[in-house]
């Protein structure tokens, strides 16, 4: 049954910004889909608001719309493009929900657009919990199974119904809101108070005000199956996944293992039969789906928990775990192919109609960011809270586990590399009772201090004894290593085969004096990893794809190659401050260098495009630690040289964020050829004193500053430069630990909390420039010191908010030519002074017409993809070429860079791009169940970003808001409460809103000022004043459509009022401006919306405005 011939033009919807529960995996799946569809000769139009994605690169679709993924905007795209079909299953819940909305509103029918790869009724049956229960029952009947195949449950639409249901089922119960993604709003209630809290917010979070109250299967074994079906009803199971954390922890927050480790064939096949029957009964037309099961460890009773009738985070994991590209195959199935007609990419000789089999073990560990949200409850529940994940492969479970643990890039890099947390078996067992980040460390400690496997299983609420025993094996190995008179070949091999790192061994044996000592011994004894291949078939057939992982086994499978090799080090697990933007740059480096070099990618993040085996010539799925990277360099270099080639000619460290950058100096010292900006130059930019000298030599201004290792030091500096001061640790990404401090007491408090201060890692104390305009520049510099300004971004919020969290505009909207000239002059001086070869990001503050350098980072920044898309120039590609010796002049001549001028000198009529950050506050609650404060600060908190692009700022800003938070209002009530210092600045924008017909509601102080300027407003109390109509209840009731609230300077009460107001706005899902410039920008956006002239344009057209040669 070959490809359909009636489809000529397919529209794909992406998943929008990275948020918790929806990350890079949908860039991976969407990119694959676009590539497949185009290679099949179809026209592809794409909608996705996330500029940091590969899929939104203009070459991946025929028409790329970086527009909000809302039914309104997508309809505009459909009207403009008139596609034959819409493929909504590769863009996560966002795409699926949008498709359902377009179907229900009749838009698809109106424009004659067919949904492919999905069927509305099937989506409903899969996602509507009540319908799904019936589906499972029917599927069970089909198999002749009796008994409850789902947990007993009831759907409720009100709190009364919820309470009645719980009276019947008894506590604890699980609460799951319908139609939310990543389990948002769900949780488990053990007490009536928890029930009210969770069910109440769950009802609010569900777009259909619906929650499911369900019998608790807490502590049962948890499994997932990834399945695919074609239109000929062929079904295959791609992967089974077993959660180490039993039921009760969201699978996205669980440590998971593939394949399932603790099922007999009989049980596995029962699960497979049930999964297939459910898939058929739901009627997923074609494509992938994910089904979750729970199994009672006491008696094997199996229940179906839920299904996702689409490609999901787990399918990305399954694709990387097995080598079977689910999204790619799903796209082919959607256009009519059947599984037997599609070749297996890896073997080339066998078809995709089969079930991958693994001869290795895969472990995935989630990465959390609780340190960014101090008030948030770190207990793991059925609501997903992790921001990223790392995956690893090993030839056995301990090897994979240890590799995954050191891939996390947390302070502890696996067992025994950080101080014990508990100190006794009792303490560790106690900690295990509450699921939390790093739970396996508690398992290890409990066992080491004498707890039994059974005790650990019981305390942890059901971690399978098999997994606990595997960790016990590591505890025993630790004792063996500690007790051995010497670490000999046998013991070293044994330790390495269990996945222990040199660093872990060094931690156990002080005589090595660090991991270098272990490595020297290991190399002397010839104990080095071999590299195996992920081939979908456990070596039954030869693999054509070099997708490798390390193991301490016998035979290596790395093919010799004489081509010059370039390694690109990726960025590891997503975390706040280091995410998809860096993966984007790494992938671009591969694209730029492929063909010229053999490109070799090293990364451990399963969500990304970089770890698609199709991206680079070779892929090593490995932790980004010094040891693991060095071994990859070694094997690539030695096999290259043995084949008569030059081996590794370059390693790129400046595109993957702080992770690879942090390895640069050690790699160089070990003889690895780092290309681009040298580690010494990196140090020049990152070390405060050295950088200060660079600035001084060039005569560039910077805020007065100093470094401190004690409170006395810090106070001395603060007295000298004057408050407020910005304090932060050195060498950080994402503004970790960065704060603005206004007085001695807070300064003392900060120093006390910053426990890691040492002479090597001092605290930086800078004069903070109040009310300055912040400017961000991305630039390229070649080896000859020629500089190309990629783009100049003007922040919408004033300096002091982390650049990753603030909105910005490109081209800068208020800067004049003279300012831009100074920015250019400064940037060139820094690039040359530091000795950059590749990318450079500089942050400036403009205050009282004076430009100050805040910081410079000689690496790809978070804004590289945004700038590239806003200016039609692929900066990361250019950077990769420059690192390997190309000059800016050459790249101009090639057409990669603009022939004349640069991103700092865009044509007058260039489109305006606005970047807006997306924040995860909704995900987090305090232990008491309240929202966490949404206030922005120098510490980055956003998980992702969107881009709004149009011909005028107002339009672009309105689009960015629609994409990030939902549409700005065009009528209704706006609540205003601003700090005294902001009151003057607020008058004009609020006046404008009143003129546009909005009703203004204000607090007393703000209202007074507004009235004096002739603005009619209703005055209400703040929350704490307990009036009948206080601000918080007005917001909660939905009466208010937007909030403008800037933080009050000081005073606990004022601060907590602001917190209550902002949390209410986040809960009510309405825009909330916390700065004056943000509010002013919102007003411009609202004006654009009211004028009603909002249009959509593909990036290809917008780029042609900047680069007319592109349209030729």
């Amino acid at each position: 049954m070959p490809k359909r011939t009636d489809l000529k033009h397919v529209m794909v919807i992406g998943s929008g910004p990275i948020v918790i529960g929806q990350a890079c995996e949908f860039d991976y799946s969407g990119t694959q889909a676009c590539q497949v569809l185009r290679s099949e000769g179809l026209r592809v139009s794409l909608v996705n608001s996330n500029p940091a994605t590969i899929m939104t690169d203009p070459e991946f679709a025929d028409a790329t719309y970086i527009e909000p993924i809302t039914p309104e905007f997508v309809e505009k795209v459909i009207a403009a493009e008139r596609p034959d079909a819409l493929l909504p299953t590769l863009g996560g819940q966002t795409a699926l929900n949008t498709a359902v909305a377009l179907y229900e509103s009749g838009v698809l029918e109106k424009y004659g657009v067919e949904l492919i790869g999905a069927d509305i009724e099937a989506i409903r049956r899969g996602e509507d919990r009540q319908l799904f229960k019936g589906v499972v029952a029917k599927a069970g009947a089909r198999l002749g199974l009796t008994g409850d195949l789902v947990p007993r449950s009831r759907v409720c639409h009100s709190m009364d119904e919820v309470r009645d249901t719980v009276a019947e089922l008894g506590l604890p119960v699980v609460i799951r809101p319908s139609f939310t993604m990543g389990g948002l709003g769900s949780g488990m209630a053990h007490t009536p108070e928890q029930l009210d809290l969770i069910a109440g917010s769950g009802l609010a979070a569900s777009p259909v005000t619906e929650v499911l109250i369900e019998e608790s299967v807490l502590g049962w074994k948890e499994y997932e199956l990834e399945l695919m079906r074609d239109k000929h009803d062929n079904v295959v199971v791609i992967c089974s996944i077993e959660n180490i954390d039993p039921m009760g922890v969201h699978t996205g927050d669980s440590v998971t293992v593939a394949p399932a480790m603790t099922l007999t064939d009989r049980e596995y096949q029962e699960m497979r039969d049930l999964g297939i029957a459910v898939l058929r009964e739901v009627g997923v037309d074609t494509g992938g789906c994910n089904i979750q099961f729970a199994i009672n460890p006491e008696n094997g009773r199996i229940v179906v928990i839920e299904m996702n009738p689409r490609v999901s985070r787990s399918s990305a994991l399954a694709s990387k775990a097995t080598g079977f590209p689910i999204a790619k195959i799903a796209a082919k199935l959607a256009i009519g192919y059947t599984l037997d007609e599609i070749p297996n990419d890896i073997t080339l000789k066998t078809p995709a109609a089969f079930e991958p089999t693994l001869d290795y073990v895969v472990v995935k560990i989630p990465r959390f960011a609780f340190e960014k949200f101090p008030g948030a409850d770190p207990e793991l529940t059925t609501t997903m809270k992790s921001v990223g994940e790392a995956m690893s492969l090993g030839r056995n479970f301990p090897e994979a586990l240890n590799k995954a643990m050191r891939s996390m890039e947390t302070k502890a890099a696996g067992f025994w590399t950080a101080p014990d947390r508990f100190g006794s078996a009792e303490e560790a067992l106690h900690a295990l009772r509450t699921p939390h980040d790093g739970r396996l460390y508690a398992v290890e400690e409990a066992l080491r201090h004498g707890a039994t496997v059974a005790q650990v299983t019981a305390a942890s609420g059901g971690i399978d004894p098999w997994f606990v025993d595997q960790i016990l094996g590591l505890v025993e190995l630790r004792a063996e290593i500690l007790d051995a008179p010497v670490v000999d070949l046998r013991l070293l091999r044994k330790a390495k085969r269990a996945g222990l790192s040199d660093r872990q061994l060094a931690a156990l044996r002080p005589e090595f004096a660090g991991e270098d000592g272990v490595r020297i011994l290991r190399h002397r004894l010839g104990v080095r990893p071999v590299y195996k291949t992920v081939d979908t078939c456990a070596a039954e057939f030869a693999a054509a794809t070099p997708y490798h992982y390390s193991s301490y086994d016998e035979e290596t499978e790395v093919a010799p190659s004489a081509r010059p090799k370039v390694l690109i080090l990726g960025s590891g697990p997503n975390r706040i401050g280091q995410g998809i933007e860096f993966d984007y740059s790494c992938v671009h480096a591969v694209m730029a260098l492929k063909g010229r070099y053999e490109t070799v990618m090293v990364n451990c993040n399963p969500e990304t495009v970089s770890t698609d085996y199709d991206t680079a010539d070779r892929l090593y799925f490995e932790p980004l630690t010094f040891e693991d990277v060095l071994e990859v360099v070694h094997v690539e270099h030695s096999t290259g040289v043995a084949a008569g080639g030059p081996g590794v000619v370059g390693v790129i460290v400046q595109l993957g964020g702080q992770t690879p950058l942090g390895l640069a100096q050690r790699l160089k010292n070990a003889g690895v050829p780092i290309v681009g900006t040298s580690p010494e130059s990196i140090h020049l930019a990152e070390e405060r004193g050295a950088f200060g000298r660079v600035l001084a030599e060039a005569g560039l201004r910077a805020p007065a500053h100093g470094t401190a290792i004690s409170y006395e030091d810090a106070k001395h500096i603060a007295d000298e430069v004057g408050y407020p001061v910005l304090v932060r640790p050195s060498y950080v990404l994402g503004g970790r630990g960065m704060e603005i401090v206004y007085d001695d007491a807070t300064l003392r408090d900060y120093i006390t909390r910053a426990t890691d201060i040492s002479p090597e890692h001092p605290v930086l104390v800078d004069r903070f420039l109040d009310d300055a305009i912040e400017i961000d520049v991305d630039a390229l510099c070649d080896a000859d010191g020629n500089v190309y300004i990629g783009g100049v971004m003007e922040h919408i919020e004033e300096a002091g908010i982390h650049s990753g969290d603030s909105a910005c505009a490109l081209p800068p909207i208020t800067l004049g030519g003279r300012h831009l000239d100074i920015v250019r002059e400064y940037t060139e001086a820094i690039a040359r002074g530091v000795g950059v070869q590749g990318l450079l990001n500089v942050q400036y503050a403009l205050k009282d017409d004076m430009l100050y350098v805040l910081e410079a980072n000689p690496r790809a920044s978070r804004t590289v993809p945004f700038v590239s898309k806003a200016t039609a120039v692929p900066l990361a590609k250019a950077a990769a070429r420059i690192m390997l010796g190309a000059t800016i002049a050459e790249l101009r001549a090639e057409g990669m860079l603009l022939a004349t001028g640069d991103g700092g000198l865009l044509p007058e009529n260039s489109p305006v791009a606005v970047k807006e950050a997306v924040l995860p506050f909704k995900r987090f609650r305090t232990p008491a169940g309240k929202g966490v404060d949404t206030l922005l600060s120098p510490e980055m908190k956003s998980t992702g970003e969107v881009m709004g692009i149009d011909m005028a700022f107002g339009h672009s800003f309105a689009k960015s808001q629609a994409a990030a938070y939902g549409m700005l209002p065009t009528s209704g009530k706006i609540f205003v409460s601003v700090a005294n210092r902001d009151k003057r600045g607020m008058i004009f924008p609020i006046k404008r809103l009143a003129d546009l017909g909005f009703e203004i509601v204000a607090t007393v102080g703000t209202g007074e000022v507004l009235r004096r300027h002739g603005i009619v407003c209703e005055v209400v109390g703040k929350h704490s004043e307990d009036a009948d109509r206080d601000a918080v209840s007005l917001i909660a009731s939905g009466e208010v459509k937007m909030v403008i609230n800037t933080p009050q300077g000081s005073g606990a009460k004022a601060r907590s009022d602001g917190y209550e107001i902002r949390s209410a706005a986040v809960s009510a899902d309405i825009p909330c401006c916390t700065t004056v410039p943000g509010a002013a920008a919102a007003v411009m956006g609202i004006e654009a919306l009211i004028r009603g002239d909002m249009t959509v344009r593909p990036l290809q057209h917008l780029h042609a405005v900047i680069r007319p040669e592109l349209s030729a």
Partner: protein, 379 residues
């Protein structure tokens, strides 16, 4: 931990540790890629005289239980794994695997780079092997390996067959009776038949047509089993007699090769065989793909396309493996006989091909209609 060595007949040596029983063993080295079902694999008579390499790295995780054996003993000649489980974990587990292996005298080796071994067998083909935890000298072991018989030409049916006939009763209402020639049958075959109301008489491999008829058989089943089908002259002759009488005939695996030979086709040894539970087979009647359980080192050499004329009328290839186009099923169009080379009874493996037992039941109960359907559907 006792050291152990594994030596292939081409001289390649792998080192590991003793697993199961300490001792020495020989056989044909084959690999199986199933990630579940080691207990079923170990007790499958088709693995008689074979040293089985498990590509799945962790073996023994769920222990062994009283329910999942496919025969009354472990048949593998030796066992090669990478990481044996330290403890079993499963609610049905009654014993850990290492103990069972030791108790059963199965010599195994663990800690081997099973992937390297598998790649070697894939490239060089299945070959003789020795595993020893008593011999230290690989050359000495190699000499003994080279003395072992080859699998080609091995007639093993009588070694695995039941010495005495026994009966597996139908569950529920009895529909008809099948005589199953035990060439190495797995328990799940009569079980799948019983679930459909079929009573199965399992008969020794050397049974005659008279023996089959004497149990009142309405149909005959030729079981899976080990060895070279080229040696199975008795079973081949029996299949021909069954077809001459137009008795419905169904065969699995070795049984399929018997039918192939009975129809006049040849059989041949595959390079390294099909052993795993993820093999895609297309049912050419429906065009659908089923994921199936395989365990065969030999295959039937029949024309893939069109209809072949044989002494028993027209015959076509009903199923093929999509990985390599090996014949996976035969269907006679003029006599009521069909067979598959793979394992619809699964155990271990997916249940996708379970429908073949229904086809068999249909063939017995409504032979004319089924044949008409097959012919129409097939072409």
């Amino acid at each position: 931990m006792t050291d152990a060595i594994l030596v292939l007949e081409d001289g390649r040596v792998f080192r590991g540790e003793s697993y199961g029983s300490v001792g020495e063993t020989f056989g044909e080295a084959v690999f199986t890629t199933g990630m579940t079902g080691y207990q079923e694999t170990l007790t499958d008579p088709s693995y008689h005289r074979q040293v089985v390499v498990q590509t799945a790295p962790h073996i023994g995780n769920t222990g062994v239980n009283d329910e999942d054996d496919e025969s009354d003993r472990i048949w593998v000649a030796g066992y090669v794994v990478r990481d044996p489980a330290r403890v079993p974990s499963n609610w049905r587990s009654t014993e850990d695997l290492a103990t069972r292996l030791a108790r059963s005298g199965v010599v195994g080796i663990s800690g081997v780079d099973t992937r390297a071994l598998t790649r070697h067998l894939r490239e060089r083909g299945a070959m003789r092997v020795g595993v020893s935890s008593v011999e230290r000298d690989p050359q000495a072991l190699l000499a003994r390996v080279l003395e072992q018989p080859q699998m080609t030409g091995a007639d093993l049916s009588l070694e695995v067959s039941t010495p005495e006939a026994y009966t597996v009763d139908a569950v529920g209402e009895h529909r008809f009776t099948v005589a199953a020639l035990d060439l190495g049958i797995k328990r799940n075959v009569p079980r799948r038949l019983a679930a459909r109301g079929v009573t199965t008489h399992v008969l020794p491999a050397n049974s005659t047509l008279g023996d089959l008829l004497s149990v009142g058989a309405d149909a005959v089943f030729f079981s899976p089993g080990p060895g070279d089908p080229a040696t199975a002259d008795h079973a081949v002759m029996l299949a021909q007699e069954v077809m001459k009488r137009s008795m419905p005939l169904f065969g699995i695996c070795f049984g399929s090769q018997i039918l192939g030979r009975a129809l006049g086709f040849g059989t041949y040894k595959l390079g390294y065989g099909h052993r795993g539970i993820n093999q895609p087979v297309m049912d050419r009647t429906t065009g659908k793909v089923e994921v199936t359980s395989h365990n065969h080192g030999f295959a039937v050499d029949a024309p893939l396309d069109g209809v072949a004329d044989t002494a028993f009328g027209r015959v076509e290839v009903s199923h093929v493996c999509l990985n390599d186009n090996v014949v996976e099923g035969l269907r006679a169009l003029d006599v009521p006989a069909f067979t598959v080379q793979y394992h619809p009874e699964a155990a271990a493996g997916p249940h996708d091909a379970d429908y073949l037992f229904d086809r068999f039941v249909e063939l017995v109960e409504r032979p004319g209609q089924v044949r008409k359907q097959l012919i129409n559907g097939g072409k």
